[in-house]
Amino acid sequence: MDAATYVGTQRRKFLSRERVVKWAPLLVLIVLVLLFPLFEWLEDARAGDDHVYLLDSRFFSIRNAARIFISAAPALMVAIGVTFIIIMGSIDLSMEGTVSVCAVVFAFAFIAWGGTLLSWAWLALPVAVLVGAFMGFVNGLVHIKLKIPSFMASLAMGFVGTGLALLLTGGDRIRVEDPIFRSLLTERWFNFPVMCYVAFVFLLIAWFIQSRTTLGRNFYAVGGGEELAHASGLNVERVRLMGFTLAGAFFAVGALLAVGRIGIAETATGNNFMFVSITAVVVGGTALWGGIGGVWNTLVGVLIVNVINNGMVVIGLPGWVQDGTLGLLVIAAVVLSTDRKSVSFVK
């Protein structure tokens, strides 16, 4: 190898696939955050108003950051749950049903046991998480024991969940009006509502599970090569079952934050979470075939999706452009994170 070729390889190494894939989502997020104020600047410049880029931006402000974080918090919890599953190379589509059931069970229990966090009603919080974990556990059992692909098993369980939530509520909406519970939204520390901090704490817990526990490492082992993991003596079925249970628990936390945000629990509480969470995980750079990515990717992905949703309205673009843009981003993200040379066929 002569010197010139060597330097060439080195340079290529600096912008290697791995590095691009690792940092591209964050880059996209930063570009978006700088792009929307640019549109605002253009709009004001055209109208002849004074506008210092970023400083006078309505989008690039603490108040708007708080708004984006509020809308991102419940979706982040759900997306973290599904991240674990996707790292394993499976998929969980039961989130809409699970979120609805957890929200409704929480609301019923909360009201029945006193209706304020200062009474025994606080027990409704852990109960909702347990219900979520249980639903995830059943989901995992169906997937493993009946040997149904996770895609189908979880989708079906999601429908079961939506049906169950409907059965429980009879189509009604339940209002949770306890001011202490609602302080998740109304109480602000350093400009951000409490729910943002709660979501951050659970993000740290998820990060801990992912990086500091055997279970977390096992998720990567299963996703990176299930046969190999199995041959090395890993009980793959058990890891999967625990993964789905854990995901269910995180869906439940998402449900609690969603109820905290609008003060209503209903069958429709789970609506849209499937699209937002899967999009966020994929856009964040977690590969759909497993083994790559993690909860920080998911944080970036959720923020990208919510920044787009918020920014599009802020710069005054119609709704269908938002959906279209998100769709294109998903394709771009998959293209980026897929080493297509190594994939011989796609099904």
């Binding site: 708004r67 409907l166 309205v313 709704g319």
Partner: protein, 369 residues
């Protein structure tokens, strides 16, 4: 070889029987054809009663179907007597389910249906008329499809025009804003007819209030959480310029209220639509200025009742005037002054309706623009 001969003889007889049976069958079909659709029977003693709709998750459809259940209970039957055909937003499934039920009941069917989209109404109505069943439609049908073109079998069609009522609530809103400032509109699914009509209502009212600017109108898909996010984005874009909010329905208004609450904004004038119980309470508390009640409970019950009573021969649809075949449903305005009274009359006790008073609360014949 006698068994072969026997076999051939047997087959001959079988074949002759088959031919005879076929000829007889064809004759039967031809005879039925002579009588034409709908002439097969004048009345059905005990028709199956069915409601075909999207699903029960949506509070609006839940109310519709509870009306249908109340109607079958008024016949002295249990709730379970009502057959539910759930289309989950698919016109194909809607039509397939109706056809399946028609063959199962042999046409002894009184069907109330929202066909999911307008073009699907024709095949549904034609299938029912052909089988001699009786059908009443709600919301969706094309303008060229009329009950009177199908004799008695297409009993009635009911819909609502939301433009007028939405304009009236918009006027209440614009007055409350003092006739100046900026208003935002959060709409339903952009392609839905009611969503379009309700935005048009606002635009019509705005003509008389030149000092009010329509800052923005975005779809919130009838969804509380989506509305919550859209409203907070509006607050970023327009901030204090927003002095009033026009919501396409109540579920959107809940999301808007929470977005305002998160920012500590109080006393923002808001109007909505649908008159859900929770919204009525918010109107009574003064948090929403006005909403419009379309009485889906009555609509669901009366649509089933019309089909049922036409099927049993209690009345003959073809003898009724056009305004009894195609009509608008009721609209009731709810403002803080009458919210308490409305709550007592409609929510705390669901009124027991006279399900044979078919057209009492209705709102005149459908006009085509």
């Amino acid at each position: 070889m006698s068994f072969i001969k026997k076999f051939i003889d047997q087959e001959k007889v079988n074949r002759r029987d088959l031919l005879l049976a076929s000829a007889y069958g064809m004759g039967g079909v031809a005879a039925a054809g002579l009588l034409g659709p709908g002439m097969a029977r004048a009345a059905i003693a005990d028709p199956t009663v069915a409601w075909s709709y999207r699903n029960r998750t949506n509070p609006y459809w839940n109310e519709i179907v509870s009306g249908g259940e109340a109607f079958v209970e008024s016949l002295g039957k249990s709730k379970e007597f009502l057959t539910h055909l759930i289309n989950e937003g698919s016109s194909e499934k809607s039509l397939a389910d109706v056809k399946a039920l028609l063959s199962k009941t042999n046409g002894d069917l009184a069907l109330a249906i929202d066909t999911n989209d307008a073009p699907n109404a024709r095949p549904v109505v034609e299938a029912c008329a052909e089988a001699g069943a009786y059908v009443s439609t709600l919301w969706n049908k094309t303008d060229d499809l009329h009950p009177w073109d199908f004799g008695d079998n297409y009993v009635s069609h009911m819909t609502w025009s939301d433009e007028g009522p939405a304009e009236q609530t918009a006027r209440i809103l614009l007055e409350a804003m003092g006739g100046k400032g900026g208003v935002v509109h959060l709409g339903g699914i952009a392609s839905n007819n009611p969503a379009i009509e309700r935005l048009n209502g606002l635009k019509n009212a705005l003509v008389d209030y030149p000092d009010v600017e329509l800052l923005d109108a975005q779809p919130a898909d009838w969804d509380t959480q989506k509305a919550n996010q859209v409203m907070s984005s509006f607050l970023t874009r327009y901030g204090d310029e927003i002095t009033g909010v026009h919501c396409a329905n109540d579920t959107i208004a809940y999301g808007v209220l929470e977005a305002l609450r998160a920012e500590g904004i109080e006393g923002m004038p808001i109007v909505s639509y649908d008159g859900n119980p929770q919204a009525v309470e918010l109107v009574a508390a003064g948090e929403i200025l006005a909403t419009v009640f379309t009485n889906p409970h009555w609509g669901g019950g009366i649509t089933a009742s019309l089909a049922y009573h036409a099927a049993t021969g209690a009345f003959k649809p073809s003898e009724e005037p056009p305004e009894h075949r195609e009509f608008y449903g009721p609209t009731i305005f709810i403002t803080p002054e009458d919210a308490a009274e409305f709550k007592a009359n409609y929510i705390e006790n669901v009124p027991t309706y006279d399900w044979t008073d078919f057209w009492g609360p209705s709102n005149g014949q459908i006009q085509y623009g």
